[in-house]
């Protein structure tokens, strides 16, 4: 009985798709358009988050040890820093290593550093600290500053804040964009499907009078909407991925250096999954909304 009903629904849905092919094409085109916009929002949002993560990884806090501390005393602070929550790594940089680093980066003025070796080295021992969560940087800075033997903690709060804000804004914009495109999509699709439903209003009315349940009437429309959604998702997937592949390729040859874009292969599965889910949702939900009014007979 259930199998017969299902095959009946599918037969009806495909027959209706063909009979109303103009409406079907129009609805599918609308779904493709909405998914293209949604795809752009998704890719943009994902990439900004991806780039923010790269910048977060590069982010470090520098903790300077009291100048009076010997290297052995300074190294004893390592375990205390490691115990602070959200500290990922704490790399000890001795004052000699720091000076060597400066000499290397300023090779042209290397002679100026010669007299600073040994007891004359004015640089402190340092800890370069990376975090497991950069949004907790201020808490970590406060904890590190409390340690006896730490003279000063430098934290590029401007960079940090811009990273956090950009990442949050990107996620919010991407999410809001996707919600707006989904709502606009549902509205446009339900309007398009409504034309198809209105054309079949009499059929629905007669079905109701002879005792059809609401779900008997709804299912073929939902299947139609879902089929249009899947077809729309497949069509939209092609230009979105081809377009993105070209952007990634152009970026690698022209703009790469500071940060990378998400490789296409890592994004493909997400795009097709979200497109399929959104396509089905737009199609099916648009159908349900369109038909609701006509079921009140």
């Amino acid at each position: 009985m259930l199998g017969r009903a299902c095959s009946n629904y599918f037969a009806k849905a495909f027959s209706n798709l063909w009979k109303n092919r103009l409406f079907s094409l129009l609805s599918t085109a609308t779904i493709v358009f909405c998914l293209l916009l949604l795809g752009i929002a998704l890719i943009l949002g994902s990439n900004i988050t991806y780039v923010s993560k790269q910048l977060e990884v590069q982010y470090e806090i520098h903790a300077y040890v009291d100048l009076s501390y010997s290297e052995a005393d300074a190294k004893r602070l390592q375990s205390k820093i490691n115990d602070i929550p959200y500290v990922d790594t704490a790399t000890f940089v001795s004052k000699e290593e720091a000076l060597a680093g400066m000499e290397e980066s300023m090779a042209d003025s290397a002679s100026a550093f010669e007299m600073l070796h040994g007891e004359e080295n004015p640089l402190p021992h340092t800890y370069d600290i990376t975090l497991t969560d950069v949004s907790k940087a201020n808490e970590v800075v406060a904890e590190v500053s409390k340690l006896v033997g730490i003279d000063e903690v430098k934290n590029r709060s401007d960079v940090l804040n811009s990273i956090i804000n950009t990442s949050r804004a990107a996620q919010a914009v991407s999410m809001i964009g996707m919600i707006i495109f989904a709502l606009v999509g549902i509205f446009i699709i339900s309007s398009t499907i409504k034309m198809s439903v209105t054309a079949r209003q009499r059929e629905i009315e007669i079905m109701k009078y002879v005792g059809a349940t609401d779900w008997y009437i709804r299912w073929p429309f939902i299947i139609e909407g879902t089929v249009m959604g899947i077809i729309g998702a497949l069509i939209a997937y092609v230009p979105v991925t081809i377009g993105y592949a070209n952007i990634v390729s152009w970026w690698q040859s022209n703009g790469a250096g500071m940060f990378e874009l998400i490789p296409l292969i890592d994004l493909q599965a997400r795009v097709i999954l979200i497109f399929a889910i959104m396509g089905c949702f737009l199609g099916a939900f648009g159908s349900v909304i369109s038909i609701r009014k006509h079921l009140k007979v």
Partner: protein, 240 residues
């Protein structure tokens, strides 16, 4: 008769039913009548008398504001919406404007009433063939409604109403769009169906039909049952 004491033979029972539409228009005022199994009942009255409201209440397109309506085993006022399809499957509906699906053949128009109740294709073929033969449409099964005369289209409507073996048929002005000769043919068909045991409740304006059929007639005027008598128009609808 109190609602709880309804005869098991009763198919439709109206008990003190009042229906007031938005704007305060009173369509029915304390209407009571019952229709028993196997009866052929006419509901007559001038336009705006409340005949259509009675039909709408029977199919749960409307609910009563006061009183109770019982159709088959359902109490229209208190039944849940989800049971409406079951209620409608217990009856057959015949409409003045036929309400056929224009892009479906005669066979498909009748068959789809069985499809919605989940009948198998084998059952559908057998039953549709029987009712098309009963309604004189055996040789027209492949035709579209547009290729049929008005009388033939109404026969398709009757075949569709009959195909699920309903407890009763509600016919709302079934001859309203037909000429006299064709209307006679439709009435003859409904009479035959009634003689086979199916209860028929027919709403009509046609005085000739009511007169000729000599069946029970319920006359409604201004939302009130003014007569409920056995016999033709002369007995029942003098004030019509």
């Amino acid at each position: 008769m109190p609602f709880s004491e309804i005869n098991t033979q009763t198919v439709v029972q109206f008990e003190g039913v009042t229906k007031i539409y938005e704007g305060g228009v009173k369509a029915l005022d304390n209407v009571s009548f019952s229709v028993n199994k196997g009866e052929f009942v006419f509901i007559i009255g001038p336009s705006g008398a409340g005949k259509s409201t009675i039909t709408k209440l029977m199919i749960h397109e409307e609910t009563p504001d006061n009183g109770r309506v019982k159709v088959a085993d359902f109490d229209i006022a208190s039944m849940h919406r989800k049971h409406i399809p079951t209620l409608r499957r217990s009856m057959g509906m015949v409409f003045q404007d036929f309400r056929l699906l224009p892009n479906k053949t005669v066979y498909e128009n009748v068959a789809f009433a069985m499809e919605i109740i989940g009948a198998s294709q084998k059952q559908i073929r057998r039953r549709v063939s029987t009712v098309l033969s009963q309604t004189g449409l055996s040789d027209k099964w492949k035709f579209l409604p547009s290729q049929l005369s008005g009388g033939e289209q109404q026969r398709v409507g009757i075949a569709r109403a009959l195909v699920n073996n309903p407890k009763f048929i509600v016919a709302d002005e079934p001859t309203g769009n037909l000429d006299n000769d064709t209307a006679d043919g439709i009435m003859e068909l409904l009479d035959q169906i009634n003689k086979c045991g199916t209860t028929i409740i027919m709403v009509t304006h046609s005085q000739q039909i009511v007169e000729r059929m000599k069946k029970r007639v319920i006359t409604i005027e201004n939302g009130i049952v003014v007569k409920d008598e056995q016999g033709g128009y002369n007995h029942a609808g003098e004030s019509l």
